[in-house]
């Protein structure tokens, strides 16, 4: 079993300790980073586990952002993202390349997130989470106003029914086409548009005119 180190994060997290896994050095195989998705998957299946590191590196941010949109806090988003990649690894043989690897990962991510949010109410984001945001570009009052409005919108999105929430997240924040969303959710384009419409209408009912 791998050992781990416990250390205290400096700066913005003075009182917070994080269990840091020991960095396992895996030999960098030449040319892996240049492989396309299908070749990376094949490499993984043939036992070159370093190829999966490349897949994780390419998609970890988008998977994390997807999870964050569902749970609105860093800790859960981080755990869910790890779960997404682990499930992807377990099911790698079922990836046939009919959709992009990103779409396939989104499908896993949406399922993982929907299962989680149905079992657990989303936590409100902490001040620590917000400190990741680059605040240099905006003045403090503007940032505060935007944060408050963003928090209200996020809270409203969290109240949406599962499919409406998934549709809105994938459409608004991951720029997926209606067809791609239909593929991820296992529904039709018409159903995706209807879900998106109802999601926006429900947001309007919950938020009223406060964000307009």
């Amino acid at each position: 079993m791998a050992s781990s180190l416990t250390w205290t994060l400096p700066g913005t997290w003075p009182s917070r300790t994080v269990t840091q896994p020991t960095q396992q050095t895996r030999p960098v195989e030449p040319g892996l980073a240049d492989l396309d998705e299908r070749a990376l998957v094949e490499a993984c299946l043939s036992g070159r586990s370093a190829a999966f590191d490349v897949i994780v590196e390419r998609h970890r941010r988008s998977v994390y952002l997807l999870c964050y949109r569902f749970v609105s806090n860093h800790e859960d988003a981080s755990d869910l993202s790890q779960d997404v990649f682990l499930r992807a690894y377990r099911g790698l043989r079922s990836f046939r390349g009919q959709s992009s690897l990103a779409t396939w990962l989104y499908r896993i991510g949406v399922n993982v997130c929907l299962n989680r949010v149905s079992a657990k109410k989303p936590l409100s984001e902490s001040i620590e989470d917000r400190q990741f945001v680059d605040e240099k570009a905006e003045s403090a009052p503007d940032r505060l106003l935007k944060d408050e409005r963003g928090a209200r919108v996020r809270a409203a999105i969290a109240q949406l029914p599962r499919k409406q929430r998934a549709t809105l997240v994938l459409r608004m924040y991951h720029e997926m086409s209606h067809q791609e969303i239909a593929d991820v959710l296992g529904s039709s384009v018409g159903a995706v548009k209807a879900n998106f419409f109802h999601a926006l209408s429900n947001l309007k009912k919950m938020l009223g005119s406060e964000v307009l």
Binding site: P21, L45, S78, Q82, Y89, R90, V133, I157, K193, L200
Partner: protein, 196 residues
Amino acid sequence: MHLQPDELIDLAEGTRAESSATHLAECAVCRLQLEELKAMMSAAADVDVPEPSPLFWDHFSARVRQAVDAEGAPRRSFWTWPRVLIPATAVAAAVLAVAVTLNTGETGRVIAPIPAVLPAPVAPLASVDLLSDPQAPDDTALTLVAELSSDMDFEAAREAGLAARGSAEHAVTHLTGSELRELQRLLQEELARSGA
């Protein structure tokens, strides 16, 4: 008739020109609904996700790597099973049919019919000595069956109804050496006759 949800979405996203929706010009309700959809899209689009620290990504990758390393090699998927399960099932069916024949023959019961046609994938069995080395891992189908059943003990199999007394499985597991040799001979004869 008012615009449908999918039409309003197309208009709000700009994939359809408003000028093409003649109804919009004459319906205040639909115009208001369209404006509200656009406003909600704008409000939702304006919501940031706090970007994690660059340090987080290294930490995250290390966590995933540890979890993956602990997992071992990726598993065979459900979708690839039929390719090996179909021949395995065909082999199992042939063995069970012959076993039932032998077992019921001794007690005078009705003999179960042997399948007239055996599927092609069983061909390699014709040249295999079934009794020589039961551990031989050459046949991928048998290897898979062995892997799938490795965690199942006899009690579990019996509880699952797989080896009830009087069943074909029970009969096979209780054959004597001479009966097994006879089973092998019958199998090879049958395979040769079917041209497999």
